[in-house]
């Protein structure tokens, strides 16, 4: 009987606690929903960001995509390299094309591909297809992607290619890069640099030895031997580029 009494008391206490917590939880619920949009709009970075997001959502529904499609002419640029010089595609009169790779310091996928990007540059630079790496991120959001950190990373990894900083963040949207790493393979033609391949470097970021298809390498080899690139686009997980 005594046991039953104690149990009852315990149950009452437990119920009371649950109610108190329940009551306490509700205001925080409404906070999450109601206050965030206001907080967002009061932050200097957010309004812009929200606008682009909405655009993207609408774009998705309407089945349209921003940026280059296969066959488009890619814009040239003049961006600051880690050695302080300004680099343009026009600086390479002897190139047959370019492996333009949007990449950065902070992203684990980018890090996983650094050695492979160096190898690709070494293999294809002498055949006329150098790597041009561009960091598109805003270092205010990702401090690891600052110009100073880019210099350090390039030095410690021994980059053999220019590593450019899209300081105004106006080149990556023109290309339609959405993530890092994101590859745009260009072929130089009399009328401009034509986009021939968009996507991933290969199909396994975790393990080089387990790669089944070397998308980028195959695409460059196809161009070098005058064949059609296949596949022309691929998807891969990457870190979203942040404005």
């Amino acid at each position: 009987m005594k046991t039953l009494k104690i149990l009852t008391v315990v149950c009452v206490i437990a119920l009371a606690t649950a109610i108190v917590y329940g009551v306490l939880e509700n205001p925080s619920d409404s906070k999450t929903y109601a206050l965030n949009p206001q907080l967002d709009s009061s932050s200097p970075l957010e309004p812009n960001f929200q606008d682009t997001e909405k655009l993207e959502i609408e774009g998705m529904e309407e089945d349209t995509k921003l940026g280059y499609q296969i066959g488009d002419i890619a814009t040239d640029f003049k961006l600051k390299n880690i050695d302080g010089t300004m680099v343009s595609l026009a600086d390479y009169p002897n190139a047959k094309g370019f492996m333009v790779i949007f990449t950065c310091n902070h992203c684990p996928y980018s890090k996983a591909y650094e050695d492979r990007i160096i190898a690709l540059d070494k293999q294809f630079k002498k055949k006329g297809f150098p790597v041009i790496a561009i960091n598109p991120n805003n270092p205010e959001i990702y401090p690891e992607d600052s110009f100073e950190m880019m210099k350090e990373r390039a030095k410690s990894k021994g980059f053999t290619f220019p590593y450019l900083f899209d300081a105004n963040q106006d080149i990556f949207p023109q290309y339609g890069a959405t993530k890092t790493p994101h590859v745009f393979l260009l072929e130089k033609q009399p009328k401009g640099n034509i986009v021939r391949y968009i996507g991933a470097i290969d199909d396994n970021y975790q393990d080089v030895a387990a790669v089944k298809t070397h998308f980028l390498k195959d695409a460059v080899n196809a161009l070098l031997s005058g064949k059609e690139v296949d596949p022309k686009t691929t998807a891969a997980i990457g870190c979203s580029i942040k404005k």
Binding site: A18, D29, T32, M60, A200, D203, I237, C239, S240
Partner: protein, 157 residues
């Protein structure tokens, strides 16, 4: 004394509400295929692709955990972290951030093969979210604010 302990236990259970911190289950591609091919007809399924190292993903997670509290909404957080990091990074992250929604880690590096199965528009940037119920499906290749997520889910209710 035993009674005292069991009483303490009951109080503990009641006070920390009925939600417990999730533990990551490592899954293969067949799980994803099954999830996409047989959507629930009763619940709105909110499938979010994320990773612990992805800052914008981590930023939007609380809204997803919140949405999961509703009875007819099932949130499935698909982590794209490496499987070898599940105990060192993913599970500690769930604990630290009070993640109570279902978490699966997709252990399949051949993303170029499974990304198009999720949605042909998706180029692989994360975060990305898929909402489905029965034959209705919407894909969002972008971050979602708490309000946006709420509004999009409302279209399925």
């Amino acid at each position: 004394m035993r009674l005292f302990y069991s009483a303490l236990f009951v109080i503990f259970l009641a006070s920390c509400s009925n939600q417990s911190i999730s533990k990551t289950e490592i899954v293969q591609r067949d799980y994803l295929v099954q999830l996409l091919e047989t959507p629930s007809t009763e619940n709105v399924q909110v499938i979010n692709f994320w990773a612990t190292w992805c800052a914008p993903c981590v930023e939007e997670l609380p809204a997803f955990v919140e949405a999961d509290q509703e009875d007819n909404i099932e949130v499935i957080l698909i982590s794209l972290d490496e499987a070898k990091n599940v105990d060192a990074m993913v599970n500690p992250f769930l604990k630290e951030n009070n993640i109570t929604a279902t978490v699966k880690l997709l252990d399949d590096p051949y993303a170029a093969e499974w990304i198009p199965m999720v949605d042909p528009h998706w180029d692989g940037a994360i975060p990305a979210t898929l909402i489905q119920k029965g034959s209705k499906r919407m894909f969002y290749n972008t971050s979602l604010t708490a309000q946006e997520l709420k509004d999009e889910i409302a279209k399925f209710l």
